[in-house]
């Protein structure tokens, strides 16, 4: 079936109806932009806490949503990854391209790290977990933001395996959502995922249950 032929003229019709309904003559782009610039934005656009309080808040809110958090000093990333994977009993993990560079340290020995070069969904399903870096983290909401860049990679590898170990650098932690969106604006068109705790649902009697389809376990290493 040729989909093009189903609703011929719909675009023009819908736009015409909208214009008639709005009732005022169409404004031009600069006028609309000027109007957008005057919209009230009196909410907190920048945070007010000091660095340590922001990191504390991220730590607390991640835990509140069932993620576990390990805080370390830089230089200890590889050994912490090894420790955490051993504790979780994970051995075979998928990683994005450029992870070691993003972390600034080589990955620990003793594990099988497979770089995602376009693995199929079924292949991804055979891994015990995934290790990635992150672009931004939001303290106020306990959120980690992943984008399709080196060290974070495509969306599927952080979704299909049941375990996600994510490394967050303190310098990438912001206090609130507007600060995060400001940082993300330059790369707005990259595929982006906000992760706030492991997969969950409250669909049954409003009881929050951890782990439905996405990774059921999320560990965060916060590097100062």
């Amino acid at each position: 079936m040729d989909v093009e032929l189903i609703a011929v003229g719909a675009r023009e019709d819908v736009l015409r109806r909208i214009r008639t309904s709005i009732g005022t003559p169409a404004a031009n782009a600069p006028a609309i932009e000027a109007e957008w610039n005057t919209l009230p934005r009196e909410y907190n656009r920048v945070g007010s806490l000091d660095r340590e309080a922001v990191l504390e808040m991220l730590d607390e809110r991640l835990r509140d949503y069932d993620a576990s958090v390990i805080r370390i000093q830089s230089g200890a990333v590889a050994e912490t990854i090894a420790k955490q994977l051993t504790e979780r009993g994970k051995h075979r993990l998928v990683i994005p391209k450029g992870l070691a560079e993003a972390l600034g340290e080589a990955l620990p020995a003793g594990f099988e790290f497979v770089v995602d070069e376009g693995l199929s969904t079924t292949e991804l399903d055979s891994f015990e977990g995934v290790v990635t870096a992150s672009t931004v983290a939001i303290a106020e909401t306990g959120t980690i933001v992943l984008q399709n860049v080196a060290g974070e990679g495509r969306r599927a590898p952080t979704l299909v395996p049941d375990y996600h170990l994510c490394i967050v650098r303190a310098g990438d932690v912001v206090e609130n959502v507007p600060e995060a969106m400001t940082r993300l604006a330059a790369t707005a068109s990259l595929a982006t995922t906000f992760v706030s705790g492991p997969s969950a649902t409250a669909d049954i009697e409003m009881t929050r249950i951890k782990g439905v389809h996405g990774p059921r376990f999320l560990d965060v290493i916060l590097v100062t």
Partner: protein, 500 residues
């Protein structure tokens, strides 16, 4: 309810349906419990935000601005989405949208194969157009992947809430449905057991089915990007793993810029599920041009659907209906919804938002009883994250209904018309939003009577709310609400006004 879709054109009047449904004490218990839990969670995370009222104001302003320039922003979205490799389609109405989706699904198979299955993310827009039924008739089975939608689908039931569609079912009822429909001889009864069963049931479908259908929370005009918020990861599965993704969005879903999400992504999760942020938000723009092993689907379609929205836009008083971001907070806060549950509204949009949206989507030809499914207490307005003055729109729509039906049986409508006129005056003169409560008292004047103790009671609401008032008499609203009393006292005490 039967497996037939909730269709406002054939649904019984709210008064009739409500009369039947308030007799279902299990359903009422489930709904009361769920709405209470969400309201408590919401209140807690809203109280954490000192700038909540400023966020609401910004949210309202962004949505109003978008509606004022809707044609501009839709065209901008189309341009940018197309440039990023997406394909944009337009549909005047539900039928066109259904046909476009069916056509796209059928042509989405590799090597000329026509798929017989799709996976779906919960979407009220596709519920509104009864897409699953149309797909089924075209030989395509749609697997709902959201836990609540799965419960509804397997239970041959209908959604009763826009965020938590199965909140009218409890765990025992869900267990029964799952055992029967998934052929499980044995299944534990905890929510965790039930969620695990859903995970196992759907996993194979996520890995196998190559075409997905979704709705959209926000379309970003500036980037051509689309945003979907969800909890379970089923959304991410549908958005990421298939070869083809088809997103159906009402034309009201567009927002001007990426930066505007900083407001809406704060308002929506806190209002909808009482979380600071829902577990997953996905944002993507068109398709990844990488030939092999790219990120996400290779083909991406957006269907922009009007379906009476452009008519709502023409009604200056009711236009604000289109500001809605479908958080469901008004449903949880509504004393009528808490009693009747969602099905009484005869529409996938229940509660206060349904009471104003559904009749307008029907161009006032059907669902005329819904604007009366409210006591105008104003609770919906108070929680609405984008400040839609629902009581005001309800009154406006009642006025329309009364005008429409001004001949015939509606003798009793006359006093209401008078009351409505009085109310219109109040609205023009009073700048405080809680006027809606005063308004409720005015609107009910011609209908109340005093009992022996001189206490006012309403035992008959204009035709429509009858289903509710036949079960319980409704106390007329007090002359002064608690808040008004409290504030007056505070004002007298310190001369300050803490109004929002």
């Amino acid at each position: 309810m039967s497996g037939a879709g909730l269709d406002p054109r054939t649904a019984p009047k709210f008064q009739v349906a409500a009369r039947v449904l308030v007799g279902d004490s299990q359903m009422r218990k489930n709904v009361r419990h769920a709405t209470k839990v969400i309201q408590t969670k919401r209140a807690k995370v809203v109280a954490e935000m000192p700038d909540w009222q400023k966020l609401r104001e910004a949210g309202q302003a962004i949505r109003q601005h978008t509606l004022r320039h809707l044609d501009f922003y839709l065209e901008q979205f189309e341009r940018n989405c197309t440039a990023a490799g997406g394909v944009v389609h337009w549909a005047r109405n539900a039928e066109e949208a259904r046909q476009i989706v069916i056509g796209l699904v059928k042509s989405s198979g590799a090597m000329g194969e026509s798929p017989t299955e799709v996976i779906k993310i919960k979407s009220m827009t596709t519920e509104e157009i009864q897409l699953n039924k149309a797909l089924e008739e075209a030989g395509v089975h749609a697997y709902e992947t959201d836990l609540a939608e799965l419960i509804i689908q397997l239970g041959h039931d209908q959604p009763s809430h826009i965020v938590v569609p199965a909140l009218h079912k409890n765990r025992a009822q869900i267990r029964e449905i799952f055992m029967r429909e998934m052929n499980l001889p044995d299944l534990g009864g905890t929510p965790q057991d039930l969620a695990d069963a859903a995970r196992r049931f759907l996993r194979e479908k996520f890995l196998r089915v190559k075409t997905a259908v979704s709705g959209a929370n926000f379309l970003v005009a500036e980037t051509g990007g689309v945003c979907i918020v969800e909890s379970e990861g089923n959304g991410r599965m549908c958005l990421t793993l298939p070869e083809t993704l088809i997103s159906v969005a009402g034309i009201d879903k567009v927002v001007p810029r990426y930066q505007d999400l900083e407001v809406l992504l704060q308002l929506l999760p806190r209002s909808a599920t009482g979380e600071r942020m829902n577990p997953y938000n996905s944002l993507w723009t068109g398709v990844d041009p990488t030939q092999k092993g790219g990120d996400g689907p290779r083909t991406f379609h957006v269907v922009l659907m009007d379906n009476a929205r452009s008519e709502i836009l023409a009604d200056k008083e009711a236009r604000q209906t289109l500001q809605c971001i479908r958080c469901g907070a008004c449903q949880n806060a509504c004393p009528v919804y808490q009693q009747t549950g969602g099905h009484a509204y005869g529409s996938v949009y229940a509660g206060p938002i349904g009471a104003i949206l559904t009749p307008q989507l029907m161009q006032m030809h059907h669902a005329q009883s819904l604007p009366y499914a409210s006591s105008l207490c104003g609770a919906c307005y108070e929680v609405c994250p984008v400040k839609i003055n629902i009581p005001e729109v309800l009154i406006h729509l009642r006025n329309k209904v009364v005008k429409q039906q001004s001949s015939g049986f509606h003798i009793l409508a006359n006093p209401e018309v008078m009351a409505l006129k009085a109310v219109a005056q109040v609205f023009r003169s009073d700048k405080v939003f809680r006027v809606s409560q005063k308004l409720g008292r005015l609107a009910e004047l011609p209908l109340s009577h005093k009992d022996g103790q001189g206490v006012g009671w309403i035992d008959w609401l204009p035709g429509m709310l009858g289903g509710w008032t036949q079960v319980r008499d409704l106390r007329v609203m007090p002359k002064q609400t608690f808040r008004e009393w409290f504030e007056e006292r505070e004002k007298n005490k310190q001369g300050a006004n803490n109004g929002r």
